[in-house]
Symmetry: C2
Subunit: 301 residues, 2 copies
């Protein structure tokens, strides 16, 4: 997989629409698409590269923001992150979204639905959390939980979650038609890596707050979850909103890969700064004419 042509990582990591993904055949410790120049210390190289990709992401993001703010662009970008527990959703958000201007980010974590959320259609809370024009949204978990945990724990009947694939596809098609670029990433870790990460949380008292005893119970459903992921990725990887599987045992590869996928998606948009709708020379004259204020007076009220 290593060569020195400019890599289009999306082609390498995409779940081919219409095809069937086999997660068991994707090595969670792999580094697909990592260029040869990453050398013998790929961790060092990717960390350095992430800084430069991050600068690009921030630059694209500013143009996206400017286009909505001063132009009439409806464009926005949405990163959807899904993973098994300890798969690195939080870490990826911190490292990758952290390279951008926080003022233009809209990050939403989806937890267990509230009674009010459950009383609505499953997409209700998701619609309410969408980024507005000009923003980069990040979903930490998403509407895909409704075909993952909902299926594995039989929270709804099979007929219900099976119908959701098509509902999700329609929803995402509408979003893309209305200016949202969707980048869906499954962070793919191994059963053993999950064990090691849970153990690290138990070993370190400053990580106990992240530990949830239920995570160990959930491990008992590993195979069922992998199956549910496989079906969701297969059914919902479309031309307009494809899924990417990012091997995520190695955090340095994971961060580099997700940042690269975002940069590629941004590049396609060819975003430019909007032109001003004012006469620069006239504004310059008006500015020059704005006189010095009277010496500051203290108001006596």
């Amino acid at each position: 997989m290593r060569d020195d042509r400019p890599v289009n990582l999306r082609d390498i990591l995409r779940v081919a629409p219409g095809g069937r993904v086999d997660l068991g055949a994707i090595d969670p410790a792999g580094t697909p698409g990592l260029p040869k120049k990453a050398g013998k210390e790929p961790k060092v190289w990717t960390r350095r590269e992430l800084e430069s990709i991050g600068t690009d992401l921030a630059s694209h993001q500013e143009r996206l923001y400017a286009g909505a703010k001063a132009g009439h662009s409806r464009r926005r970008l949405l990163l959807v992150l899904q993973a098994m527990d300890c798969g690195g959703k939080d870490g990826t958000t911190k490292k990758v979204a952290g390279t951008m201007n926080p003022q233009g980010l809209h990050i939403v974590s989806f937890g267990k639905p509230s009674p009010e959320e459950l009383a609505h259609d499953f997409l209700w809370r998701v619609r309410a959390a969408l980024p507005i024009a000009g923003y980069v949204g990040v979903f930490n978990r998403s509407h895909y939980e409704d075909v993952l945990v909902a299926r594995v724990h039989e929270l709804v009947a099979p007929a219900v979650w099976r119908e959701r694939y098509e509902k999700i596809n329609q929803f995402e098609r509408d979003l893309t038609r209305n200016g949202t670029t969707i980048v869906k990433v499954m962070l793919h870790i191994s059963f053993e890596e999950q064990r090691a990460r849970i153990e690290q949380r138990l070993d370190d008292p400053t990580k106990h707050w992240k530990y949830n005893p239920a995570d160990v119970d959930e491990r008992g459903y590993w195979t069922e979850y992998q199956e549910a992921y496989q079906d969701a990725l297969t059914e919902c990887s479309t031309d307009y909103a494809p899924w990417y599987v990012v091997p995520a045992n190695r955090k340095w590869y994971r961060d580099w890969a997700v940042a690269t996928l975002l940069r590629e998606a941004f590049a396609d948009l060819r975003l430019t700064y909007p032109e001003g709708d004012f006469d620069v020379a006239a504004e310059r004259r008006r500015l020059a004419a704005s006189t010095s204020p009277a010496k500051h007076r203290v108001t006596r009220r």
Copy 2:
């Protein structure tokens, strides 16, 4: 002002509650509290220092987040940024909030109120924008606009905006009593610095999106705005939510100062990681017992 004792910048920049601030007496190009060790290249020193302060902020922020997530802490922190146009609210947000984990930030920009917002009390939209427990909120403009622009442009009668000072104080007292630490910062620039910054926006086509012809009109009200600021800072600098005036002509000082104010506010909270409410040894045994999943099967539905 330069010495090498550990500086408590809050004492230096605070508008003394009960006193009267005179903005005309505060040099917008000053660097109060900057330590002697900043040396002859304070720009270089403060930029480097900002990285280290940023690391501390991110660490405090994680404990704040953990306390709400896994403990029962109601603590949160709210940075309120106010300034004249071009005063650096966006830049400060990017540079200072940008050092923290974006997942734990809640940044809200307040623009011209919508008809719906105007139909409510002036604090309605502000209450809806407050950070929840565990989060760091940033207000880019705030409820103070309702005693600034509303006063200068006579959007409400004097009796109305005068009453708001006390309403704001009550509101902020309630917030602080319920776990919110409020850090209110006025970024203080000069009339000439504003002119230079507006000119920069006109000079650079990639900054035209930030340019608004109305900004030049607003310059005509400079003195009225300074008076309105002076009264707001005087009336609403309280023991529980004091105002800080940060000289902001020099961006490197401004960012260093705001980051330092936040670090000092965080330090007072003495935040610690919450203790786990589980038996570590028992969890370790449960984890070790979680067996390897059956080899991955492809579901045939």
